[in-house]
Subunit: 416 residues, 3 copies
Amino acid sequence: MYQLIAELYPICRSITGPGVRETLRRVQARAPIAIREVPTGTPVLDWTVPKEWTVRDAYIKDARGERVVDFRQSNLHVVSYSVPVRTRMSLGKLREHLFTIPERPDWIPYRTSYYQENWGFCLAHRRLLELGDDEYEVVIDASLEDGHLTFGELLIEGAQPEEVLISTHVCHPSLCNDNLSGIALATFLARALAARRLRYSYRFLFIPGTIGSITWLALNEERVSRIKHGLVLACVGDPGPLTYKRSRRHSAEIDRAALAVLGHSGREFTVLDFTPYGYDERQYGSPGFNLPVGCLSRTPHGSFPEYHTSADDLEFVRPAALADSLATVSEIVELLESNKIWVNQNPKGEPQLGRRGLYTQWGGRPDRARRELAMLWVLNLSDGSHSLLDIAERSGLEFGLIKDAADALAGQGLLR
Amino acid sequence: MYQLIAELYPICRSITGPGVRETLRRVQARAPIAIREVPTGTPVLDWTVPKEWTVRDAYIKDARGERVVDFRQSNLHVVSYSVPVRTRMSLGKLREHLFTIPERPDWIPYRTSYYQENWGFCLAHRRLLELGDDEYEVVIDASLEDGHLTFGELLIEGAQPEEVLISTHVCHPSLCNDNLSGIALATFLARALAARRLRYSYRFLFIPGTIGSITWLALNEERVSRIKHGLVLACVGDPGPLTYKRSRRHSAEIDRAALAVLGHSGREFTVLDFTPYGYDERQYGSPGFNLPVGCLSRTPHGSFPEYHTSADDLEFVRPAALADSLATVSEIVELLESNKIWVNQNPKGEPQLGRRGLYTQWGGRPDRARRELAMLWVLNLSDGSHSLLDIAERSGLEFGLIKDAADALAGQGLLR
Amino acid sequence: MYQLIAELYPICRSITGPGVRETLRRVQARAPIAIREVPTGTPVLDWTVPKEWTVRDAYIKDARGERVVDFRQSNLHVVSYSVPVRTRMSLGKLREHLFTIPERPDWIPYRTSYYQENWGFCLAHRRLLELGDDEYEVVIDASLEDGHLTFGELLIEGAQPEEVLISTHVCHPSLCNDNLSGIALATFLARALAARRLRYSYRFLFIPGTIGSITWLALNEERVSRIKHGLVLACVGDPGPLTYKRSRRHSAEIDRAALAVLGHSGREFTVLDFTPYGYDERQYGSPGFNLPVGCLSRTPHGSFPEYHTSADDLEFVRPAALADSLATVSEIVELLESNKIWVNQNPKGEPQLGRRGLYTQWGGRPDRARRELAMLWVLNLSDGSHSLLDIAERSGLEFGLIKDAADALAGQGLLR
């Protein structure tokens, strides 16, 4: 995952344009996603697919002809979606188009100007202070033209048509945690799931934020009802503890699955209630869709100082954090895959486990007592109205223990 | 309000009689209430309208002919509803009819003898200790005769026949917080509401405690079902923090409205669960009516030492406290008036707020981010099953912000 | 109760055999239980009634012919349900059949080998260390033969066919808290209830653990639905505070009754959620029966070091603890007996209690205010959907006060 992030880092992405296309091509080299193109002007729900933005170069040159701000050094320098500019102006006039972070004088902020035509440059505050009261040459060699919105999609078919949605945004330029980390996690999760037998079908979306999910929802309205569970992945590579933001439904199966996994992880984590602010869970959770889609992050957006700055770089994301995030999502998937309602075939009194060898089965294991208890819980609650996750929650035992117990009991015909 | 309290303070009120009538006349000078008279003997639910009590003078004279206890100095001196007395007796016999508060030797207690014929005097304990072992002349120049129970009523008609009930008791003599404060608040609230357009109709009752609400309920059984929300106002003038006592329904809209207002007031407050002890919410909340009527007080009855003593005087109530109580009730009314269920007309995905100018609308305001968030919450939850109060509760934002957001969105046709 | 425990202490009980039979005969001398015999081999739910076990003698003799372990000294020395043995073996081989508690070198553990044929001895660890590297004569003079499973049963018929189940296990040998305490409590509770008029019918079961409840359930499947409330009694004689373990239904009437009694006891207590591990509540609470049966103990099984050792002896149980446990169960029974739904006959407004003498009724009592409040609560909530226990819970008042208030109001025709 880290290697993919390093490979994608230099590319200048935006909500449309060649950067997204190139990013998806590199994802495609790892996981068999399809690359979809939707023409500019296509009406999508309340929105319209915007023009395609291409930036080739951008700079501010001082009187001596030196590039004092240079897109070639960092693509964060140009405000994303800036209209083309080629002019000369005084520092006074130029300042209205310059953005810095005075409290972090060495960091370049990340700014966009979607859905309103404008232009600008972002730069380190320290650099701004060095600029003399000069006249400057200002060039943004960009085009905003009819083209396409590009996104990546992969459906891995499982035994059932019901889908689990994994959605991640691909519209940010050289920012690693936000959201090359999500792209990398989704890519390798897709690769792993494509190689195995699955109960659910899994739909992966690599989309520009907001307009991407709106476009997908608009084009797939009739498919939306198949989505039974979903996760938005964003900012999953920083060293902070994991954060799960609940879906709009608050206690949907995906919410309870995520909490069950985090709750038994032995590590610190945070749970946030749904709010209609954040990533694409806002769109999936709009009242007309109301999909059970939560969001997994490490430190949530806006809560780390590096957020939306040049400090969200290759040092800010860590291989170990990425691995932990992937392991957590994999465990959540595992839980969804095996969360079934079993029915005790011997519901009156306890069945005699001893004569079926079910007590000796765990003989050598240090957690034998908990494994026996897990069997008793599964038998006691498998009355047709409790799923294995219900049983795990009620008993306080890990889902894995409950699942193993159910498998052992089912193996003896005690559950169906 | 304070001025009205000062004007009403000297009047000797009881559950019936000229004091209540005079009090209501002075209220009438500020708000257009009707004064109703119900004859003695009228059966009202399980009760009967009692006789009318008139007291002209009352005193205890010592052997030297000096009034050692004198109704003309304080109407608390005579036990309310005392039967007429004109006799002479030793201190020993008289003592059975004397009431004091030994722990507060300078305060006169307030006592009543409703529904059982008796008589008595209340006095400062220090005065009692001064009484010599004398023979005393004891006079209560009062009459208990067939007459009327008097109460005040005002219906302010709004657009809907559904009513909000505001009820306050008028039966206490010279006690300011309990309940000239409630009378004053109700009077000025009525005056304010009478001057504006309203969604709900508002019914104000100025009634003697218990027998008054029982009488009104008995005479208006067929109207009772129109009452959708209600508040009893009592003890709203002392300097303590506000207290809201829930209705019997515990989480009726009036309860949630009061809590929403208090919860965002930034000031300390107390919430009490319903109990069948207290003011007229006992009657409104009896199981045969079960009306959603809460009670707003500052320090609750019985919890301040001045309660039911001569120390509940003009110094104990404060203009600022009265103003704060009125402002709070007005905010609760405002919330009820605007607590509607809007329906998002663009429920699939978020509508594009930017092109409708809804993001820039709050541009200059310091709470811009919270106002934008309020719009997202209103859009997200306006699915036909959430009122604005539901949205305020769920989002944790003030009701006012939510309402402003709904108004702005409705102005753009995004809500209906 | 303590005397009965002392009498039963020396008897060697097991899940079947003469010890249980003898124990039940001595219970029968105090309470009119029937002794039931179910033949070996009878299929009972998923189980089969096992053989009857009789032990006459058991010992380990050293080379000098001295009994180094002797059943006649403590019946805990032989593993319960051991198959007959008569052999000689070295200490090395014998050790596989010896059980001790190294951390408690003077205590003999209690071990069983039900449902798998085996044999063994339990002894103090200190004694084990004294055994030389000798050859030993090993004798268990026991028989495992077709016979019967024996249990005790008593149905005390009340006015209604609905039953309260009191179940206690009788299968442990010389252990006092576990469970001679439960046997003694159930015996004396049965004796007390047999002597009075009752609303519910009460069924007492004195049964071997697990197989006993399974046998009773199997033989009485059509009667099971009559059981409306139930308690398993176990470990009720130690000096620790009381512990109530909820039924599988979590908030059944028995659970709420037990909590109401414990909550107002003024003493420390513990409430545990249901788990499918423990005593016979596991069987009563299996999903095919799902009976509302909780479990009352003092220190719960497994939580006191004396548990399942020779230290659970006549010193470990205390008359005062037994008395407190019996008083608590009696109070729970009392609550169930009088927990009815009354209906306020005067539901509109409060009835006038004064003219019915209901205020003066509690005149002399120090808790007069609470008794008056209890009347108001009963009137307010007796709307046909609240039982007296509901009212006690909601008001926070003791059930006894609520019941007295209801009786007083019913006496005046205000409730039916």
